[in-house]
């Protein structure tokens, strides 16, 4: 190719300046036609695909339900979904497309906090309300007053488990075993310790491990020596399963309990019988006898032929709470929907009665599950 660099530069500049001029901005703000356009960015492929797919299935079911009931404000909901491939850099592009190209009136997403944090400033800047179904990191909603979530945040879970330990398990002393490589684990441990001490309990041992560790006998021996009434393990299911096995081998038959990082079908296959009589907190259980929940579980099973998990329930709630706000606002205008969202009080969601607090986080109950005979059993609901 015998192009002179200079000619080439000029040609490049001209051709690129034409990029982007080929489409005029969509002037209709989604409400102009007979549908309400709602955008969703989700990790449908890539490493968090399992979570992203679940959440998306829940949201898609909510679209069916809303449209079957006549839609919102007399219009059908149209969900426009963009896959961000679980990749950093993609959510920003996806959300810009949804807002400027498709002209959506609100945005739903994402599961992972880091990707919600990438898209949130763009929604804030464009005054488009964004609802994250399941990003639990407190910083997500701190981006601005157009950013909401329908899940509880990490500090709340730590407090819930402390209450559960003192009130239900009647523990006087506890040990904490934290994953130091995880922000999530450190946060949970911190808030658990604060509340447990405030409730009159005493932390007698604090041990740490790194995600990926296989041997926990040193930490567990130290915990055994301190003789606590129970052990709080705010980690993820892979390590939790191994910790449970090794604890039982060392003759530690104390109650073990943790947070929603435990929730995975792999937990029981790793830990097996060692997990009998352990507890964890999460967002949702299909065993909940509440009629709203049972109706949701039935519809979900009919559509996807599987039992919904917490992500699906949160995905469903994220759109339902948006539809509720639009109905109350009587419009799809971003500012008014934002105000209505902020005023949400006791909305009967699948994951409990949701109230949006001053920090735009969902204030709602957590569910505590017990592991019995290798299955999760609903134990109790703890309100905030």
């Amino acid at each position: 190719m015998n192009v002179r660099p200079a000619q080439f530069l000029a040609a490049l500049a001209v051709s690129l300046s034409l990029v982007g001029c080929n489409k005029s901005p969509s002037s209709a703000a989604g409400g102009g036609s007979d549908v309400i356009k709602v955008g969703e960015y989700a990790s449908l492929t890539g490493k968090e695909a399992a979570f992203g797919q679940s959440s998306h299935e829940g949201t898609a079911l909510a679209v069916d339900d809303l449209n079957a009931a006549g839609g919102v404000l007399g219009k059908k909901i149209q969900l426009i979904t963009e896959d961000d491939q679980s990749q950093a850099g993609q959510p920003a592009t996806d959300v810009r497309k949804l807002i400027s190209d498709d002209g959506v009136v609100a945005v739903l997403g994402e599961v992972a906090s880091s990707r919600s944090l990438e898209a949130a400033p763009i929604c804030q800047e464009n005054h488009i309300p964004m609802i994250s179904p399941s990003s639990t990191n407190p910083r997500v909603t701190e981006v601005g007053d157009y950013i909401f979530r329908v899940c509880f945040i990490d500090p709340f879970q730590g407090t819930v488990m402390a209450n559960f330990a003192t009130k239900t398990l009647k523990l006087k002393t506890a040990a904490v075993l934290t994953d130091v490589t995880s922000d999530y684990s450190m946060g949970l441990a911190k808030f658990f310790k604060e509340s447990f001490t405030a409730d009159g309990g005493k932390i007698v041992a604090e041990q740490t491990y790194s995600g990926g560790d296989k041997d926990f006998s040193a930490q567990l021996t130290a915990i055994k020596a301190a003789n606590p009434d129970g052990i709080f393990i705010p980690g993820y299911y892979t390590e939790v399963g191994l910790i449970a096995i090794q604890a039982r081998q060392l003759g530690i038959n104390l109650p073990l309990f943790g947070g929603d990082g435990w929730e995975s079908s792999s937990l029981v296959s790793i830990g097996g019988a060692a997990l009998e009589g352990t507890y964890f907190s999460t967002h949702f259980t299909p065993e909940d006898t509440n009629a709203v929940v049972q109706a949701f579980v039935k519809k979900f099973q009919a559509k996807y032929n599987q039992t919904p998990d917490a992500m699906a329930a949160l995905g469903y709630d994220s759109l339902m709470i948006l539809a509720d706000a639009m109905k109350r606002a009587g419009t799809t205008d971003g500012d008014k929907v934002r105000d209505a969202l902020a005023a949400t009080k006791d909305f009967p969601g699948i994951t409990g009665n949701i109230t949006i607090d001053a920090e735009r986080n969902a204030s709602k109950p957590a569910v505590i599950l017990e592991i019995k005979n290798g299955k999760y059993h609903y134990l109790q609901t703890i309100a905030p």
Binding site: F8, L16, K23, A88, T93, I99
Partner: protein
């Protein structure tokens, strides 16, 4: 080579970018930001082409240099909170250059001890370097660790993005054209013969690495100020591979080809995505008849790469076998 014309055309290109940037508000924001992605990818691909194409090394660590530059520029610009546009522009430029320099220092650091290695061995070392950078950032709490780091200012615009892309192309092309620059190609063609005529291959390799890393760092700074959010995950191995694919698809050592490949590979997934939004196609009654294209775009994209590599192994935009003998554009 007449040096005056390219220089004045470079200035003309930059001026054109400036004029276009004045009309940014009239361009749809989605396409505008896709165009920033294009500029960032052009800078990355052209600078990697200096290492992988012209000098014949195989680096898989370009995303690591990009991360160093991106985070450095972001940390510097986040200290600034005024509204004076001239001062903001000066700080942006300084932040970009500082990011580039730190990335170049990283290039030197990894280059000096390892560039005596060749081929596959070098590829593995640079791959390791990129991963080390990512893991270090993941564990640095001051810049957000694994959670990510917010960048306050969205300063990247058409002028900065494409102005710098033009400068990068100019520098790389002019360098390879220069007397000094012939050394890169000599090292590429035959290291032993090159050292026999008095060229120090290690010196040339390190130089290529440092210059390549500098521009990758600047690209990182532009990326940081366009996305306004950085996570270590975004600078992983896959990002490096993406840049390598642009270089190979464009043709090793073929700058115009690499630039076109960078544009094509950035536009393709986005273009396929928008096809799905076409509501009606004449002759087909179904609504959104092209929706399947949008849903399978990543498969189409991957298939296209395979087909292109099978049919045009010498590079999409190369007329002759340029891998053997890099042609100066």
């Amino acid at each position: 080579m007449i040096f005056n014309r390219p220089k004045s055309l470079l200035l003309a290109a930059i001026a054109l970018c400036f004029v276009v940037s004045l009309f940014e508000n009239h361009i749809q924001s989605y396409w505008l930001y896709v165009s920033y992605d294009i500029a960032v990818n052009i800078i990355l691909a052209v600078s990697l082409n200096l290492i992988n194409g012209y000098t014949g090394q195989f680096s898989l660590g370009h995303a690591g240099f990009m991360a160093v530059g991106g985070y450095t520029a972001a940390v510097i610009s986040n200290q600034f909170s005024g509204s004076n546009p001239v001062l903001a522009a000066a700080i942006f430029l300084a932040a970009l250059i500082a990011g580039g320099l730190l990335a170049a220092a990283g290039g030197l650091l990894v280059g000096l001890p390892t560039l005596r290695l060749r081929g596959d061995y070098l590829a593995i070392v640079t791959l390791g370097f990129g991963e080390i950078i990512r893991v270090i950032i993941q564990n640095m709490d001051a810049i957000g660790g694994a959670r990510g780091y917010s960048v306050i200012h969205g300063w990247t615009n058409f002028f900065w993005a494409f102005g710098i892309a033009a400068v990068t192309i100019y520098v790389v092309v002019a360098l390879v054209h220069s007397t000094y620059g012939r050394g890169f190609i000599a090292v590429h063609d035959d290291e032993i013969a090159a050292s026999a005529v008095g060229i120090n291959p290690t010196k040339y390799k390190v130089t290529a690495f440092v210059i390549g890393a500098f521009f990758a760092g600047i690209a990182g700074g532009l990326y940081a100020h366009s996305k306004q959010y950085l996570t270590p995950d975004g600078f992983g191995f896959m990002k490096s591979i993406e840049i390598v694919v642009m270089v190979i698809l464009g043709g090793m050592g073929n700058t115009p080809g690499v630039v076109l490949a960078a544009i094509l590979l950035t536009l393709l997934p986005e273009g396929l995505r928008t096809l799905g939004d076409v509501e009606h196609v004449p002759g087909i009654s179904a609504e959104y008849p092209l929706g399947w294209i949008a849903n399978t775009r990543m498969i189409i994209y991957s298939l296209l790469l395979i087909v292109l590599m099978l049919t045009r192994p010498q590079g999409l935009f190369t007329r002759q076998s340029a891998r053997k003998n890099p042609k100066i554009a």
